[in-house]
Amino acid sequence: MLDLIVLLIFMIAAGIVAVEIKDLLASVIALGAVGFAVAIGFIMLAAPDLAIVQIVIEVLSVVFFVAVILKTTHVDSAAGRPYKPADIFTFVVFGVFALAFVYFGIRLFAGLAPMSRELGQVASHYLTQGLAETGAVNRVTSVVLDYRALDTLGETTVLFTAVIGVLAVLRLEGRRK
């Protein structure tokens, strides 16, 4: 448990760095640090599938970020600008929201105790019957590609949508002359 807490503190710290640092490249690298920490966390949480995917995806998304920043600029021109009254208002609202969020979160988790919960009916069915019903040793794969294959179809569709969206947005000319 303690290792996870340390990891999370590291993640939060790296996250704050990523948000607050002026250089965008450094910010993205800090984001990468958070992502790799998440991958390590997945291994600790007994989820090797997630860890693999997270590492690869993390690498790729950092590559995307860096590709964009290298083509443009890595200076955050908006940083260091003096705050306006409207910004202060935003901060206050956000602060109140955040406090309420954390408070209700604590109340919720106090009632839930998720780390010690029993496996649900559905999950235990997957564990005990999964191999017989789907033939896949890796239960995560059996869930992803058999029990919940539609989610996977949806997910590849999201990726497809993103690709088409990227292509659509980065067209050279939007309108005919």
Binding site: G111, V122, A149, V158, T161, I164, V169, R175, R176
Partner: protein, 502 residues
Amino acid sequence: METFPVLLIAIPLGGAFLVPILYKAWRRLAEIVAGLCLATVLALSIYLAFFLVPGKPLVYLFGNWPVPLGIAFAVDKLSSLMLLIVSILAFFSYLFAIRYMDQFTGAGKFYTLYLLMLVGMNGVVMTGDLFNMFVFMEIAGLAAYALVAFGTKPKELEAGFKYMVMGEIASLMILLAIALIYAATSTLNLADLSRAFATMDKTPGFYFVVILLMFGFSLKAGLVPFHFWLPDAYPSAPAPVTAVLSGVFTKALGVYAMARILFNVYGFSRASSPEVFNALLILGLVSIVVGGLLALPQKDYKRLLAYSSISQIGYIVLALGIGNEFALIGAFAHILSHSLGKGLLFLTSGSVVYRVGERDITKFTGGLGKQMPWTSLSYNLGALSVAGMPPFLGFFSKLFIILGAVKAGFIVPAVVAGLFAVVTLGYLLKITNKVFWGKEGIKGIKESPFVMVFAMVCLVVLLVAGGAFFFWLKPHLLQPAADVLLKGTEYADIVFRIGTGG
């Protein structure tokens, strides 16, 4: 009929995968394929909407896994009504888009995204699984963000970015809520969740999740405190996309999902948890008032209509918040009438922009009705319907909403709903006066191409026919849909019974 739910997803999805390949070969073929997909979806959903037996939903088990194990689609009368509305508007907007998209490059990508948006909306409306709903929401959402930014002008890109930021915040809130719900219940199937929630204590944590969900769905629906993205996003998108966004997108992703989860999954009813319903009522009222008042001073044709959409969505949420039978019938009638009506109005904006190239109504001198008679006719009749003038469909929806409010004893909301119909008419007449009606028009403008006019006129016919046959529509479409919500968690029992083969 059993496989219809799959086909409603698979056909547009297959079309979306095919269109980019075909487009490289031959542009028209891609268009035709997209049109065929949309027409098939329309035909299937008409069949579903009218021939589905109330109380006997189609439960489609993906991979033949019984209910809580796999993903199930549960298509009841409510889903089928939404499907019908979505596919009607998607089809006619597509007809409109065939010529409208001449102005833009990359039509292949447009049709792909358009079909994907349809896939997303259909999926959200049919699915019986919470996480699956999120996935389809993301499909529809991403497609919508891309379509809003489709013109790639700076303004449009910025609107797309803004919309994306808001939409993704909403999605992440919903995902967080799903995680918390899973932590509490160990299941994701809506029917199963409904059973789990029934035995759960109503602690502050419980309501925290409800609030997260409502926050997410209100953002998607563009209700008032969360409406910032909407007036930028709607004017930026190409007109047929705006018609779909305003007409069905916010309703399928926001209002429908909210109604389904609050009524059928949580099993809330006005009697059992008035606080949730009062929140909806207030959200609706605030949206009606703020949206209506902000629409009045607008000068941009589409922006005015965008604010109007906020106001009209407020009516639907108000009706959900009232929560009795009449109000719910009114809510669904309003979803139907506002989809067709506001979709139509956005299409007329496209028609005007296509010919005149101008959206600022102060730059018009009136008289466009002489040169573009069909567009003008469509606009005027659509505006009357949206404002709730008899004998159009829009009248009956407002009638039932106000009747519901009065029956439940909410006199002030009833009066506000009535008065803001006048405000609605007021701002819509602004466009009539400045753009369409008047002595002399702009030189050298002619009516839009035939398919565009055809799409608009079809929607007008639907509005008029909907008004004339309202009392035939009511028992066949609206009443069963309202019953689904009114019966609350009975949904879960039915889905379980069918979904487990019992």
